[in-house]
Amino acid sequence: MAEETNGSGQPNGNGNGNGKKGLATLIEKAVADGKALQKRALSEAEEYKDIQKTHLWKSVFRVKHDETPRSRSLSVLTNVFLHLHPSKINRDAVRYGFTWGMGGITFYLFIVLTFTGILLMYYYHPTKADAFRDILYLEHDVPFGKLLRNMHRWGAHLMVITVWLHMFRVFLTGSYKKPREFNWAVGVILMLFTLLLSFTGYLLPDDQLGFWAVTVGTNMARATPLLGTEGPLGPQLGMTPFNDVRFALLGGSIVDSNALLRAYIWHCIAIPFIVAIFLAVHFWRVRKDGGISGPAPVVLAGEVKELK
């Protein structure tokens, strides 16, 4: 033992001497290397303690998350999901009282509806034979299926309410005035499509409620002036139940399998696609027109030249 201890004490001692001594030095060396490795690993692990300094973190998040104004601005501006925000806003605009948060909540509900809607699509066939059964299946067999359907339904109703309140707020604050005239018009179109999204979804369970609501709704299309078979001047222009605007909506002269398929495609693909485009324009214009309109300082009638 004593010899071995002495042997290990000598630097560069390995390679020489007999086999027994060589093995001992080898073990000694391995232990020493192991210790050095452990030390290195520990010191490296120490560096991983601050996750924000890791290579991986820095590759994902390009900005430091400290409380400097520069980092705060960059964390918004360089983030793909947040970059529609400016880096700074009117200090009073974050108060609930001015915007009521209704535009943002509407958009959030649109996302919730897209998410729950995609999940619902996995369990639904838009055919007369399957549609109603799929809803029963969804309600009774699919895990959380009932919750999923309820969230989609109530989220849609809530979205109609928040759209109306958003519009009401924008009107009361005069936010449609110059330079935001066009964006108001885009907003009106988005509101129309919100109602149409909700309405096209109504038929999909293929139950009495949806069937008769859509029957009543599309029967009105019969009365379209010029383009409907029962509308003013429609018959005179050669409109029949088989070529008028109602036929185009339903893909037939009655609410049947074609109508179900059309409602499904409008609801799940066509209208969400159109809405996404208008939403992009709507948000883009909010920024380009100078952000949200207020709360702005009040202007007196005497201060406006054109009113004198």
Partner: protein, 311 residues
């Protein structure tokens, strides 16, 4: 008083949003107008006191010298948005856990639902079907509502009230919009939901729905009041009435605008096209309440009767 009937209507799952609307709309109307009146008070003070205009920050919100005009979006806005998302999610979850989406029997074209109601947000349009033919209530008026709303910024020439709540500086705009939105649109939805029963018959809240009710309503058209049977005569008197209605309503609106010095100045800024558009949409809008009243009191059906269309 049939409380059971009232409860059945109120607790129908698809009617819950309207019950919510009954609270939300009055609340937000009050919430917005409260800020409008606060701003109006400030505007009055500033107008009285020109010295104050030079130093005042011109908002009713708190302000101290040295406070930054702007704040960072992160964290001051994003945390509010995040909180809103959480609250909405919680509300939606609780709502979805406690209340099931309606599912009736499988669709059956041979079995008509009575009453057969549209989704609640379209009940205003369905209620309009009582007062107008489908081409008008279902197609023309909805299109005009959409186009008219889109046109608002293009004929509102009042430069004041841009970006803050005010009533005093935008009386005409606020009153006409609230009339259209609150009085016509929302109240028509409420009528369609709570008042209309089987056969689309008027049942007061708490009145029992009678599914066998038959209402004898001998409707009268305008020419019938004068005993006119000739097709040409009907068309002439109908057009004359519509023309007269337009002239009287337009005149009244014009007089209202002119009665106020400020609206008069705003009016003078308008081009002919802007003013004609404004008048067209307002007169068309007023056609609805007029026909509602005539219908509900006199069983009045059509003003204009022609072989092709009735109005």
């Amino acid at each position: 008083m049939d409380w059971g009937q009232l409860w059945r209507i109120t607790s129908t799952p698809d009617n819950v949003p309207i019950v919510a609307l009954l609270f939300l709309i009055p609340f937000y109307t009050w919430y917005g107008l409260r800020q409008a009146f606060a701003n109006d008070k400030l505007i009055e003070e500033l107008e009285k006191n020109p010295e104050m205009t030079k130093t005042h920050h011109r908002k009713t919100l708190p302000w101290k010298p040295g406070w930054a005009q702007e704040v960072h979006v992160w964290p001051f806005l994003l945390r509010v948005e995040f909180l809103a998302a959480i609250i909405v999610t919680v509300i939606l979850m609780v709502w979805s856990i406690t209340l099931n989406a309606p599912l009736e029997e499988p669709s059956n074209p041979t079995l008509t639902m009575n009453p057969s109601k549209a989704p609640w947000y379209f009940l205003g349009l369905q209620e309009m079907l009582v007062y107008f033919d489908p081409w008008m209530a279902g197609v023309v008026l909805p299109s005009l509502i959409i186009v008219g709303m889109m046109a608002i910024p293009y004929f509102d020439t009042n430069p004041l009230g841009n970006g803050y709540y005010t009533y005093k500086q935008r009386k005409f705009a606020i009153l006409t919009f609230c009339f259209g939105f609150l009085v016509l649109w929302i109240s028509m939805i409420v009528i369609g939901t709570f008042i209309r029963g089987p056969g689309w018959v008027w049942f007061w809240p708490g009145q029992t729905w009678d599914h066998n009710i038959v209402v004898y309503q001998p409707n009268k058209d305008l020419p019938d009041f004068f005993g006119i049977t000739n097709a040409w005569g009907k068309a002439v008197i109908g057009l004359a009435f519509l023309g007269g209605f337009g002239a009287v309503t337009g005149g009244a609106i014009h007089k209202w605008i002119m009665s106020d010095d400020f609206s008069k100045k705003v009016y003078q800024k308008m081009s002919l096209l802007q003013y004609a558009t404004l008048q067209f949409f307002l007169i068309t809008m007023m056609l609805l309440p007029v026909k509602m009243i005539l219908r509900l009191t006199l069983n009045f059906k059509y003003i204009l009767v022609t072989p092709w269309l009735n109005l």
